[in-house]
């Protein structure tokens, strides 16, 4: 049973079993109100807490004023010396992996390269103190200049880790827009996956074990959780894929846009560069078998990974059916070259390879 259908059945079973207690509950609430109306008023605990709160605030104010007068506060612009940790982290993965820490003013207070390629990108860049917009532009420009961003390698994973959910959502939109603009100015098309997440010790450990950034690890975990084709054992394989390859799988997932699509919170746009898309893969098959899209029914177009010879090769499995003959045509298409690697036709009475 497909995951989608199972979840529907599971939810429906609970819906059918839920008891009808509305009237009983409303009646109990009305009785509760009547009883409370009859009780004498007591001094409530919140009042006592408020007094304590006021005292605490007064003490804090006193410390603050004293602190100001002896100059113990360091201006926030001297970000290297401040003890205030970043409010938000933004992780950028292309294959260079870079983490930016920002304060409440969206100024960069920390910049860390998570891999060797990342170190090359930020070498000689002094990003601390910059505003977020400028820092993102600077990093992307460096990636472009160093050959990490090209027409065929245009996938960017943006991961935002912030305690403030609303702010994090806002930031995700802003950063995605900024990246798109930078690409546009360089006449490049970009393909972005932007996600929100929280970093915890377990994620940090898993990322470390797999030698990848926390943002990429989170995406991999999400894909294993949500996509039927992948299980825990595939973690290492997926972790070794480039962002471009993960993007290809992500953007061609079977339940994309459906109600149970677990990636609905992510911002995604742009075609993955360097690979033929599913429409092209389909047209390659149709051309081979001499049919048009109106003649056939699309059964499936899936992305697969071949790990032969220790290299990852992405391919499409394209399968169509032809009603009048009850025939099935299936082929494997190389995502990079569009070459047909294998083709098979199944026509009742005949089986061709």
């Amino acid at each position: 049973m497909k995951k989608r259908d199972f979840k529907k059945k599971f939810k429906s079973a609970f819906k059918d079993s839920t008891p009808g207690l509305k009237d009983k509950i409303i009646s109990k609430c009305e009785v509760t109100d009547q009883l409370e109306a009859q009780e004498p008023k007591k001094i409530s605990f919140p009042t006592l807490v408020s007094l304590r709160k006021i005292t605490a605030i007064a003490i804090c104010l006193a410390i603050f004023i004293t602190g100001l007068s002896v100059g113990m506060f360091i201006p926030l612009n001297d970000v290297v010396e401040t003890a205030i940790p970043p409010k938000t982290y933004v992780h950028l993965d292309v294959n260079p992996s870079i983490t930016l820490g920002m304060n409440y003013e969206d100024k960069i207070v920390e910049c860390v390269a998570n891999n060797e390629d990342g170190k090359i990108v930020i070498k000689n860049l002094n990003l601390v103190g910059m505003d977020m917009d400028t820092a993102i532009s600077t990093i992307l420009s460096s990636m472009y200049v160093n050959g990490y961003l090209t027409e065929s390698s245009n996938s960017v994973l943006v991961s935002v880790d912030s305690h403030d959910d609303e702010r994090a959502n806002e930031l995700l939109n802003t950063i995605s827009t900024k990246i798109g603009t930078v690409f546009e100015n360089s006449s490049l098309e970009c393909s972005i996956i932007a996600q929100l997440f929280s970093v915890d010790e377990v994620l940090l450990q898993r990322a470390g074990e797999n030698g990848i950034s926390v943002g990429k690890m989170f995406l991999v975990d999400k894909m294993i959780s949500a996509l039927e084709n992948y299980v825990d054992d595939d973690t290492s394989m997926l972790a070794n894929l480039s962002i471009k390859d993960l993007n290809l799988i992500y953007q061609n997932r079977p339940n994309k846009g459906a109600q149970d699509d677990p990636f609905v919170e992510d911002i995604v746009f742009g075609e993955v560069g360097g690979y033929v898309n599913t429409e092209v893969a389909l047209s390659i098959l149709l051309e081979k078998i001499g049919l048009s899209v109106d003649d056939i029914q699309i059964e499936e177009i899936n992305v697969g990974i071949s790990t032969e010879n220790d290299t990852n090769k992405m391919f499409y499995t394209v399968c169509v059916s032809l009603e009048p003959l009850n025939a099935i045509f299936e082929c494997i298409v190389d995502c990079e070259t569009g070459e047909i690697l294998k083709i098979r036709a199944e026509i009742p009475g005949i089986d061709t390879q």
Binding site: K7, F14, S17, T18, K22, S176, D200, L203, D221, E265
Partner: protein
Amino acid sequence: MFSIHNQGNKAVYTRNGEIEALIKRIALSDTGALGELYELIKTDIYAYALSKTANEENAEDIMQNTFILIWKSARQYVPYGKPLAWIFTIEMNLVRQHFNKNKRLIPLDDTNSAELYDADFSEKIITNDFIRQMLSILNEEEREIISLHVVSDLKHREIAKLIGKPISTVLSKYNRAIKKLQRKAKEMEVR
């Protein structure tokens, strides 16, 4: 010019808005609003209680008490866009109280050992055969996560925050649980 396509789940956002509006009315002692809220989230509340207690009677009690507490606490609710999290927090506290009252052993680790759970999956306790069979193969944590995600459409991140577990733990437990359930459902189909 490119355009950003935010795949935000509009249905969930609308539902949250609806729930918040009802809580606002409940705060003004509107029993009609309480009735409407009941109809909107009854399955979410019941499913969670049943997933934790594995007992229909206890789940009904917890469900009732959850709505009564919502009625009593609506005035204290501060709108922040995630009313279900507030409601589930109320329910979780009630579940904890239920266990404390009955001095039930609450499993603290991830062991999928039947001996740790005194949940009785007999027909007397859960009458729906499908639910009973599905819940019986999961441990308590898995039942909780499955209920919150599959029935109530909470995101894994929200579930992690609610139950105080790392998100990667939630993801991997969910993944294991859903695969177990799919296998079981397939077995039941074949029989």
